[in-house]
């Protein structure tokens, strides 16, 4: 209870500081007061603009998230069942994770379309996180459990479906939680390479046209989209740990 109060106080102090710094222009005109930003967010005239940008970005993020998570899950499972592929797939994933996102943009632009580039960049980010977390999760079953399954005569497939996969669920869900902000970042960077609309486009345009308040609005929308789904996935993670942890 005391921790919650202190936490709320911490956030309140942060928001109050934001407002004061903006009002007194302590950091110049590039730091608008929080109230100005919220006012523009609530402006009915801007509503259509924000909704279009947010829905485009969320759509790309969700698509990239699904593709990346699927690919990560499949490759991690294959590498687990065929250990000979393991080292090579680990290295592939590490290298894919090391490719700068701004280089992925132009590649997907040629490979796909302008509209699907954000989702593709986003899926690469998600793939790595899910691949790593599922890979380590599949090894979480203890030797004692493996021995028990061997004694009871379970074959490789049964052991995987009944023991290793359930044991990997908590770390899969943790991976899914951490992957959401990464997916959103991928979508925003992907949008810089010619997407018709989205939060990333809004951010770049506002930055280049010195529309400071609009820039902060776009950033706040991105933060809100990140936090909302991150919160939901945190709840899912707790449930998974309670059942399978």
């Amino acid at each position: 209870m005391k921790q919650t109060l202190l936490g709320a106080l911490g956030i309140a102090i942060f928001l109050a500081l934001w407002e004061v710094v903006g009002r007194t222009q302590l950091l110049g005109i590039s730091w608008p007061p929080l109230s100005d930003v919220l006012e523009m967010l609530a402006d009915p005239g801007k509503y259509a603009l924000f909704r279009r940008a947010l829905s485009a970005t969320l759509e790309s993020t969700a698509l990239g998230y699904a593709w990346g998570a699927g690919a990560g899950l499949i490759l991690a499972t294959v590498a687990h069942l065929l250990p000979i592929l393991r080292r090579g797939s680990d290295r592939l994933a590490a290298v894919l994770n090391s490719v700068p996102s701004i280089a992925l943009g132009p590649i997907f632009l040629v490979l796909l379309t302008r509209e699907s580039t954000p989702a593709a960049v986003s899926s690469i980010h998600v793939f790595f996180i899910v691949f790593v977390s599922v890979g380590s999760g599949l090894q979480r079953a203890t030797p004692a459990h493996r021995d028990l399954f061997a004694v009871l005569g379970a074959d490789r497939v049964k052991r995987f479906a009944r023991l290793e996969l359930p044991a990997a669920l908590p770390s899969l869900v943790s991976g899914l939680r951490l992957a959401w902000p990464a997916a959103l970042i991928g979508a925003i960077i992907g949008e810089w390479f010619g997407a018709p609309r989205g939060i990333g486009i809004l951010i770049i345009n506002a930055m280049q046209n010195f529309q400071i308040v609009l820039l902060w609005c776009a950033v706040l929308l991105a933060v809100a989209a990140s936090l909302f789904f991150y919160g939901l996935l945190t709840l899912l993670e707790r449930a998974a740990y309670a059942r399978f942890g």
Binding site: G88, A94, V99, P181, I203, M207
Partner: protein, 254 residues
């Protein structure tokens, strides 16, 4: 002298790098099959060719980006660990800081680059600030949880022996946090160079990200991909090196 065992070496090479080899071969074949203009999409061999024949152009920019990333990584880890120690000393500070850091650690940081650029100006200090922010969050989160997880019973022993709070920090909590800090280093090191590159790309100042943006705009696509290739190799090496450090630290401290 016996001849080198060539076959096992090849098998090992394929086992370790089949994924990357497959990717490169597919890329080369894809460009060949579509006969893309090199301006649109060069082959990996052409990218490598440009890299080998003009190393000087890459060298300066790599140096700048690498220095900013390394400096930002160290600064971010120091600030993160420092704040974690403050939170460890004071329950009030920890109560105030914890929800804020949870909040911030899920913020898409690239969205903040334009804001920070407007505040600090379009130069190197903004790139540095981005790297510090990127590395700050993992080190704060991992250091905080590490400081609070000394081996069971050890804290009581220190209390019984009359250790001061400072001695407790230096001799128990900080060593106990070392493995966690090594994980934070691993997470942050690969991202430090990539974050620096995105910031340089957006602001167009100096470094690898600038080289990418400029050559891309001038239709020198081979060089743009060359810059990305260099960044990929550095980032992957940083990740591997940090993994090695993590292993050593785990052996030493746990």
């Amino acid at each position: 002298m016996r001849p080198l065992p060539l076959r096992p070496l090849l098998v090992r090479l394929v086992e370790d790098y089949w994924g990357i080899l497959l990717l490169l071969v597919a890329w080369e074949a894809w460009v060949m099959a579509n006969s893309f203009n090199p301006i649109v999409m060069p082959t990996p061999t052409a990218v490598l060719g440009d890299l080998v024949s003009n190393p000087g152009i890459y060298f300066d920019n790599v140096g700048i980006t690498l220095m900013i990333a390394a400096f930002g990584l160290v600064a971010g880890m120091l600030v993160g660990t420092g704040l974690a120690v403050v939170a460890w000393f004071s329950p009030i500070a920890s109560g105030l800081l914890n929800p804020l850091t949870v909040l911030f650690s899920s913020v898409p940081v690239v969205a903040l680059i334009p804001v920070i650029a407007r505040l600090l100006g379009y130069d190197t200090s903004t790139v540095l600030a981005i790297v510090v922010i990127i590395t700050f969050f993992p080190s704060f989160v991992f250091a905080s949880s590490g400081l609070r997880q000394p081996p069971p019973g050890s804290e009581d022993l220190f209390r019984v022996l009359g250790a001061s709070r400072l001695a407790l920090l230096r001799r128990l909590a900080l060593p106990a946090a070392m493995p966690n800090l090594a994980i934070a280093l691993k997470l942050a090191s690969a991202h430090a160079i990539l974050a620096a590159m995105v910031a340089e790309f957006l602001m167009g100042t100096t470094g690898l990200g600038y080289l990418f943006a400029k050559t891309k705009a001038d239709f020198q696509t081979e060089r743009a991909f060359g810059a990305s290739l260099v960044a990929t190799v550095i980032s992957a090496s940083a990740f591997l090196a940090a993994g090695w450090v993590e292993k050593k630290v785990r052996e030493r401290y746990s």
